[in-house]
């Protein structure tokens, strides 16, 4: 099934309005690995018959990495530009493919004039399953498989959302296990606060290697993620531990799309 994803400009030109705007994010747009997550989200939205659109070339970085690296000017310039676009289209509901975009749009844009209902993709997917809009057959590919969820800092601690991603994973009928450090006590993957874009400071270890130990302890065969940066960091960590043949790192959107036979 060939999929088409309209831009909001195209949709507006047709006189239609989307149920949600899918905010793809920079990693989801440009990083080859993260693009697979983006496509899985698009397939899920399509299968659930959610009228959605993307901004395409009109989307720009939310400014999160600039803000957390100390460049408030650049952040607010980005915010002003994005808010002008979003408000111009009268956008009301946004689903993001990245918890950093999610946090910034949800918590930092309102004060600057951008008020939207913002959801992280795992929250929206969980709603689609709950409301019966998305059918996840009987979850055969993951039935009984041991899966552990790595909480993204900006979804979990940052916004108190620990349950939606786990509830979505329930649909897989898998063997869900928690890492020693999870939920409120979850350990960062090491990429937040603009670390993704620089080398780590001098230390005796990489944060993602430390986190990989937590994964290995659980005996999980799949690390479920909800953030493109966590995905990169955990994939590298698993590779470093030479477990890439045994342990997969996949976003919840990819797991659900696979279980729903959409890939």
């Amino acid at each position: 099934m060939a999929l088409t994803v309209p831009t909001l400009a195209e949709m507006t030109a047709r006189g239609e309005a989307p149920e949600v705007l899918f905010w793809v994010g920079c990693a989801g747009s440009f990083d080859d690995r993260a693009k697979r997550i983006t496509k899985a989200i698009a397939r899920i939205l399509t299968a659930a018959e959610v009228p959605f659109a993307v901004l395409g070339a009109e989307e720009s970085c939310t400014g999160d990495p600039a803000k957390r690296a100390g460049n408030e000017f650049l952040f607010q310039m980005q915010a002003a530009q994005n808010i002008a676009v979003l408000n111009g289209y009268g956008v009301q509901r946004i689903v993001t493919g990245c918890p950093h975009c999610f946090n910034t749009l949800k918590n930092e844009y309102p004060e600057l004039g951008g008020e939207y209902e913002v959801m992280h993709h795992t929250q929206f997917i969980q709603q689609l399953i709950r409301d019966g809009r998305l059918k996840v057959a009987d979850g055969q590919p993951f039935k009984g498989k041991r899966i552990t969820f790595h909480d993204p800092c900006y979804l979990g601690r940052g916004n108190g959302e620990y349950e939606a991603p786990r509830a979505a994973l329930q649909a897989l009928d898998a063997d869900l296990v928690e890492m020693r450090r999870c939920k409120k006590n979850g350990l960062c993957c090491g990429a937040g606060g603009a670390q993704m874009f620089k080398d780590a400071e001098k230390g005796n270890r990489e944060v993602n290697h430390e986190r990989t130990d937590d994964v290995l302890e659980t005996g999980a065969k799949v690390v479920a993620t909800g953030c493109p940066f966590c995905n990169t960091m955990m994939t590298d960590g698993i590779k470093n531990a030479e477990k890439e043949g045994e342990i997969e790192v996949k976003d919840i959107a990819e797991l659900i799309a696979e279980a729903a036979d959409l890939l």
Partner: protein, 446 residues
């Protein structure tokens, strides 16, 4: 009569020095920048009740948490006993509450004794944890010298105070049994009865000396402690309450939008690139706004309050991913440095007759290094772990703002990320027109 005068003099001295120190700290905190934390009073009272009074975040670690609750309950309840001691000391009475409270008095004294024993045991366990057990957060580089001694002084003083309290009761019990003058039959001594053999062999005068000696030691110790506490990390026993009341109630992931920046961005976005900057109202010599925090007094008063509230427990540092992987960053050290620096600024002001003087030093650089700041992943684990809602991360990010917006100092990779965001609208050097590529790919796949 002389006893009463000595007591009054001691009390007055302690209250004088305590009040002077509180004024100093209050002044230092107010050197911070303005921030509004007066909204949602109902939620604020609830947060304070839950987090400070209810110790909800302490018990996340049950061993330390439960023992801390024993010490906390002991501290609060034994204060009823201290009130009696104050009245007895001022008016020359003895166990003044006993005749009024009757049977309740016995129950109170009995339960204070059990609490005193609990406090004593907990303090000894804490001493062992700090000094003998290999608990990493008590072994960090910042926990040497004064901070280590401070912690041990507090615990030893509490052990001594509790021992004095129990000895006083033991001797009082003996005096009561012997029917000595002045010692009315009052109180029950479920714990201190075990100390009776220590003092039972003494003469009447000896027993009275122990009782009076322990009484004076107990109250003198408490008054000395009152003066010591605001110079110590132990000040958290007071500050935990206002500090949690003024908590940041917004989601932990939210970082404030700087108002000064918003003004300039609004001006730029208003469409007139040649618009003159707004005239400063009235005060012509107004300094241009400083972006971010370079020194302690660039932080908000709430952040300075947090520095005075921190008791250096190190839970933040023990959950910090940067610290756990051997980086220089320790969130606890950020709080300790902030307090040390604002104290230094305060002392310099006292010496200069209240004027804020420049000493060529700043918090950023002289206390906290760039390497520490750049190690933070902004994961908020430190914020979540703090038992009294301190945010070391907030200070770290405010200092990054100063590095970038005042000094343009950033790791090279960060500078190129900024350039990419500015030029391409993405942290990587891809053109915006490529954003739709995945859509094209999707329409050809499967």
């Amino acid at each position: 009569m002389i006893g009463q005068l000595v007591f009054l003099a001691m009390l007055g001295t302690a209250v004088f020095f305590f009040a002077r120190r509180i004024r100093q700290i209050n002044r230092n905190i107010k050197l911070g920048q303005d921030v509004d934390r007066s909204d949602r009073p109902g939620d604020r009272w609830a947060t304070m009740a839950r987090v400070a009074m209810g110790q909800s975040k302490m018990v996340v670690r049950p061993v330390a948490g439960l023992m801390h609750i024993v010490i906390y309950a002991g501290f609060i309840l034994i204060n009823i006993e201290v009130l009696e001691i104050l009245i007895d000391g001022l008016f020359g009475t003895h166990r003044v509450f006993a005749p009024y409270l009757g049977g309740l008095y016995d129950i109170l004294i009995g339960s204070f004794e059990w609490l005193a024993l609990g406090v004593l045991v907990a303090c000894v366990v804490f001493l062992v944890r700090r000094n003998i057990l290999p608990i990493a957060r008590f072994r960090s580089p910042e926990m040497t010298g004064w901070p280590k001694n401070d912690a041990n002084i507090i615990l030893v003083v509490e052990v001594l105070l509790m021992f004095a309290f129990l000895s006083m009761n033991a001797a009082d019990g003996i005096a009561q049994a012997r029917g000595l003058d002045h010692y009315i039959a009052a109180g029950s001594f479920p714990v201190s009865q075990w100390l009776v053999p220590l003092y039972a062999g003494l003469s009447d005068a000896g027993v009275i000396a122990i009782e009076r000696g322990a009484w004076w030691f107990h109250i003198a110790g408490i008054l000395a402690f009152l003066v010591y506490v605001p110079y110590s990390k132990h000040f958290h026993i007071f500050m935990a309450f206002p500090n949690t009341w003024y908590s940041d109630l917004t989601p932990a992931g939210r970082l404030d939008n700087m108002a000064a920046v918003k003004k300039e961005v609004d001006l730029m976005m208003s469409g007139d690139p040649f618009a003159a900057p707004a005239e400063p109202a009235g005060d012509v010599a107004a300094e241009p706004p400083k972006f971010g925090a370079k020194d302690a007094d660039d932080l908000t008063w709430k952040q300075l309050m947090e520095a005075y509230s921190c008791t250096e427990c190190g839970r933040c540092t023990s959950v910090c991913p940067a610290n756990a992987t051997g980086k220089l960053l320790s969130p606890r050290k950020v709080m300790m440095d902030t307090r040390d620096r604002i104290e230094e600024i305060g002392r310099a002001m006292d010496a200069a007759g209240g004027q804020r003087t420049q000493d060529g030093k700043t918090l950023l650089g002289d206390y906290i290094t760039e390497e520490e700041l750049w190690a933070c992943t902004s994961c908020q684990a430190c914020v979540e772990a703090c038992p009294i809602n301190i945010s070391p991360m907030g200070i770290i990010l405010d200092m990054r703002r100063s590095l970038i917006m005042e000094d343009s100092k950033a790791p090279e990779a960060i500078t190129s990320m900024f350039n990419n965001v500015e030029n391409n609208g993405a942290p990587w050097a891809f053109p915006a027109t490529d954003r739709g590529k995945w859509v094209d790919e999707l329409s050809t796949e499967s």
